[in-house]
Symmetry: C2
Subunit: 296 residues, 2 copies
Amino acid sequence: MNFPAHWQARREWIDRALDEYLPPAEAPPTRLHQAMRYSVLGGGKRLRPMLVLDSVAAVGGEPEKALLTACAFECVHTYSLIHDDLPCMDDDDFRRGRPSCHRAFDEATALLAGDALLTLGFQLAAQNAEVKGVSPERVVRVVAELSTAAGATGMVGGQVMDLEAEHREPDAALVEAIHLRKTTALIRAAVRCGAILGGATEKQLEALTQYGKLIGLAFQIMDDVLDIIGDEKTLGKPVGRDQERAKVTYPYVFGLEQSQARAQELIAQAQDALSAFGSEADPLRALATFIVQREQ
Amino acid sequence: MNFPAHWQARREWIDRALDEYLPPAEAPPTRLHQAMRYSVLGGGKRLRPMLVLDSVAAVGGEPEKALLTACAFECVHTYSLIHDDLPCMDDDDFRRGRPSCHRAFDEATALLAGDALLTLGFQLAAQNAEVKGVSPERVVRVVAELSTAAGATGMVGGQVMDLEAEHREPDAALVEAIHLRKTTALIRAAVRCGAILGGATEKQLEALTQYGKLIGLAFQIMDDVLDIIGDEKTLGKPVGRDQERAKVTYPYVFGLEQSQARAQELIAQAQDALSAFGSEADPLRALATFIVQREQ
């Protein structure tokens, strides 16, 4: 299988769907809609929707029946980026190679665009029940998974812990606790929701949950690593921001080399978690490898 | 029926449920959880959850089976208040007689507490499917209703229009368009979701939708009126803020007297919309009357 071609095709498919599901730029309130579209359609790896679709396929389901849920995850992810960038949070001026939402528009619009995207995420997830062959039972599980992963015990909780930990003496337990909530929860949920919609058995769901958790952690470690050794142009945002803000990061606690080794190790474990799957899981295997090799 | 006693009992029931569903104050991240609890449990009329429960009863359903959804609406409502009060939005220091969330905590915590409450709203709505006798079909409809009412074409859209309209020459069409989105959408959805969970017929749902829209509009008109003639102590927030910010309000366009008359008229129409219902809808009738007589 030619993975770059597979990803390219998937990315185009996801981008077309997002373009369709987002409110039109010319419909009022236009400024809100434009801000939502600016942030969602301005690039991005589409890792979370990709994971939804590839997990559906890994358990023998039909990815096109989960496209709405895949896009729901991208909306929720983008909302978190917009709010993270706000002045009262990380105060970042750049994202994906362009001015961040509140710089391109204004603070109030960015706040509300984030709110609207989080809400749209749940709207799309619910809408998935209208797709033929998708049971409402599964959709309710997806909404529960998505909200748990995004909420106070997941992504938002991780964000708070991340802010609270600034300038504090970090240790391994703290950095892992933050990473598990801030990034891993949503990535793990994307994998789980794909599995649920695809009709996974309990055993398959368990294996994929493990896979999702391991690649989620590895992804955030690599994010921390790239903030040190990455190329600003490729990343689309300035590097060195973590150190500037005295963030609790993996490299800060373990050093650069050990962090990269840890990410490699997690990815190897993630591959092991997929051992019972056949070639249907090859895209998930390739995604795991991509995570430690990526430059953006 | 003794309505004040009915409301008092309902309010206590809702407050107990919210206390149970919100994350515990002592669990980490404590600051986030405390901010969420501060804003939700710090008083409020509980109008939206009340409407959910009374609508269930109006169509012959069991209100206790919709308690999670009732609380979901209060979480979504409270999130909107927290974000509205932020400095980049209305910049309000007081809410429900106490410092607003970002004044009692800080901006970042208030932003994230709002995000977490919106997310919790969807989590509680989804959790309602675990209640015996509640079908996942109905829960999926509730999630769809709630997200549509809260999102870009509903509450968030109304918020944007409200900000955009500041200092602009208002007319009747603009003020109604804003009110329909900013306040009415969520109130109407609360009534609809109660009806859906209670097993309403299409005809009942239609009548209750009409009722919800009419009382929602009347509620916002009275909100505008109370901002002029209300008592700060009873309201728990300073009055005259709309004029200060040159907001587009009903009294600004129509004058105080005509606004009050319009609210009365809408409530009369709302009562008419309930004409096919028996005494099961008496609490909804009383709520409508309360809306134009309220002082807070």
